[in-house]
């Protein structure tokens, strides 16, 4: 139990008649960075939402720190798992500090407000991210990268053991992508934090992840009639799980994305580039 913080067992999910996930299983060891990859529509976000208990699966089970998710309530789960959704939009010009304080929700009793200790903890968080100077700034006035860091810091204010991130680098420029991923990497190493994130770019997975889960898209490709007798759903959404180098080989990448790639080794790093 101490070694494995998340177990996903046979998870399937449906939106109405459309099956989005089929029989997905994998385990996440404590302190690891695990990336979920796959083409658009493969169910990465759905899977993350199921793990965050924002959505119910149609089959299968999720175990968090050994306990079945179905038996946990939201406040219990929030002490273990924190989520950061994709691209956050807000109507209110809250300050960065007020935004971070909302992450303290599991620890603030019903008729109370956050206390000085909560504020100090959030301040430490800001220091750690190097954005303390933004403490009193309205989040609506921040750049995309800064806002993303704030939302990650907010998730961390929950003092979780695992972080779920949905495409944390989308909408960010190169500098901010590197900044966010490096910060996540630092966190996982320094604070024994487990990270499960969905990622578009296989190269980012190769650079940062300890493990990868590659999913395929279940919905039929364009031009194929879904009701045709010879169309069957694959048995599982999962193409491969495990070491990113093994998972992200050209064969699997072709199956997932329909793109031929070449492997390039450079300065102890491995890169995938589309073939000519």
């Amino acid at each position: 139990m101490n070694q494995v913080i998340l177990e996903v067992e046979g998870i399937s999910a449906r939106y109405g008649d459309v099956t989005v996930l089929q029989d997905v299983s994998f385990a996440v060891p404590r302190g690891a960075i695990v990336t979920l990859l796959g083409p658009n529509g493969c169910g990465k976000t759905t899977l993350l939402r199921i793990i965050g208990k924002l959505l119910a699966p149609s089959a299968g089970r999720v175990r968090v720190a050994g306990q079945d998710l179905a038996t946990m309530n939201q406040p219990e789960l929030a002490r273990i798992v924190a989520s950061v959704a994709q691209g956050h939009r807000t109507s209110f010009p809250f300050t960065v500090m007020d935004t971070l304080l909302t992450g303290r929700m599991p620890y603030v009793s019903v008729f109370a407000s956050p206390r000085q200790a909560d504020v100090l903890l959030c301040r430490d968080m800001l220091d750690w991210f190097g954005i303390r100077h933004l403490e009193h700034k309205a989040i609506t006035k921040l750049s995309g990268g800064e806002r993303q860091l704030v939302m990650i810091a907010r998730a961390l204010a929950q003092e979780p053991r695992m972080l779920l991130l949905d495409e944390p680098t989308t909408f960010l420029d190169l500098r901010n992508q590197v900044r966010v991923l490096d910060t996540i990497d630092r966190l996982a190493r320094a604070q024994d934090l487990t990270v499960l994130m969905t990622i578009h770019d296989p190269n980012q997975a190769l650079a940062y992840a300890d493990r990868a889960v590659l999913l395929r898209r279940l919905a039929p490709l364009e031009g194929i009639d879904p009701a045709a007798a010879d169309h069957r759903l694959p048995a599982t959404s999962t193409i491969a799980t495990g070491d990113p180098v093994v998972v992200l080989d050209p064969v699997n990448v072709m199956e997932a994305y329909g793109v031929a790639v070449d492997v390039i080794e450079h300065a102890h790093r491995r890169l995938l580039v589309p073939s000519d």
Binding site: R49, G52, K53, L54, N73, Q74, P75, E76, L77, A78, R79, V81, A82, S83, A85, H88, T90, S91, F92, P93, F94, T95, D98, T99, L101, T102, G103, M105, P106, V108, V110, F111, A112, S113, P114, H136, A138, T140, A155, Q158
Partner: protein, 350 residues
């Protein structure tokens, strides 16, 4: 500037810049007191500031320093009216602030879920069709009924999406407005005029017995919303974000909507429909102090109490006769709000 030791309300935040924000918050927080004194000395039976304190003091120590008519006007006519205006102003403003936070929508006021149309229909029913029905009770019950209908229409799969809630409110309002129209076209002229006047809002029918049955719910609902106000910050970031940080989102939505409904329905049953207060006061407070609900709700309470009691002062003392409240709140409040919107850089909502 040393900000570490200041309470949350006075720390720098969004809203007016630094020092102005603090000054404005303190001024508004204290404003109900002078507003109260001013309201108590105003009227066809003129009093001075000294008189106001003198009358209260003499009643406390039990002497009869003034004529008995003075005491009658002061304690039996003016005081319940001024207190009602402050209580209703306070609770409708807090309800508006809470609902704007829960529904994440700046165009929301406590009437949006069908309350005003339901209450108006209930009042019309009691005035024109079923005279044995107590007016306040009918307005109160039908107001709550309308909100309950809107809420259950919007609920699906254990969740209440915000857009559904607002749309259901619009639909319910339309239905009750139609029912109201039926009552209006079939009513006598005199009943019709009574109905119209009631709808436009007034505190002139307030007595101690009416206040004594109403104050508790208004105070209780307001206290609950203020006690839970930090939760609105969490809700304001989004349902999913709030759920992920461990909040039981649906339960808190129900609690806030219920409290807002209750205090607003009581307010409407006393005073009729007071347009724009629950919409504008929270916006003004937000422009001054920023969106942090820890400051916003108490500030809205103070601002709402002062605002409505001053409006009622105009209603009863400016001209020779009673001016309906909604006319004043709309004619004065709306342009004032527009000016404020133009002059402040921070709109409190983006």
């Amino acid at each position: 500037m040393a900000v570490r030791r200041l309470p949350a309300a006075l720390r720098a935040g969004t809203g007016l810049p630094g020092g102005w924000r603090t000054v404005a918050i303190v001024a508004i927080a204290l404003s109900p007191i002078p507003a109260f004194v001013f309201s108590m000395l105003l009227g066809s039976y003129g009093l001075s500031v000294g008189d106001v304190f003198g009358i209260i003091w003499s009643r406390i120590i039990g002497t009869e320093a003034y004529e008995s008519t003075v005491y009658a006007v002061f304690f039996d006519i003016r005081l319940p009216r001024v207190l009602s205006a402050m209580l209703v102003g306070m609770s409708i403003s807090v309800a508006g602030a809470a609902l704007q936070g829960v529904l994440r929508n700046p165009l929301v006021d406590p009437y949006i879920l069908g309350l005003s149309s339901g209450a108006a229909f209930g009042a019309a029913l009691a005035i024109a069709v079923l005279p044995w029905l107590p007016l306040q009770l009918s307005a109160f019950l039908f107001g709550l009924l309308a909100m309950g209908i809107a809420y259950s229409m919007a609920r699906s799969g254990g969740r209440v999406p915000i857009v559904s809630l607002i749309l259901s409110g619009v639909i319910t309002s339309a239905i009750f407005t139609a029912l109201l129209s039926i009552v209006q076209i079939s009513a006598h002229e005199r009943s019709l005029q009574t109905i119209v006047r009631w709808i436009m809002g007034s505190f002139n029918a307030v007595t101690w017995s009416l206040l004594s049955t109403s104050w508790f719910l208004m105070v209780l609902g307001t206290i609950v919303m203020i006690a839970l106000r930090w939760r609105l910050n969490v809700l304001a970031l989004g349902d999913d974000e709030a759920r992920s940080s461990g909040m039981n989102v649906e339960r808190y939505k129900v609690v806030f909507i219920l409290c807002a409904a209750l205090v607003s329905a009581v307010g409407v049953s006393i005073a009729g429909i007071v347009a724009l207060v629950g919409l504008i006061v929270p916006h003004m407070a937000r422009m001054i102090a920023g969106p942090d609900h820890r400051t916003l709700l108490p500030l809205s309470a103070a601002l709402g109490a002062t605002y409505l009691v001053l409006v009622d002062d105009i209603a009863r003392a400016a001209l020779g006769y009673e001016v309906p409240l909604s006319i004043i709140t709309t004619l004065i409040g709306a342009p004032f709000f527009w000016l404020l919107l133009r002059s402040t850089k921070a709109s409190g909502w983006e």
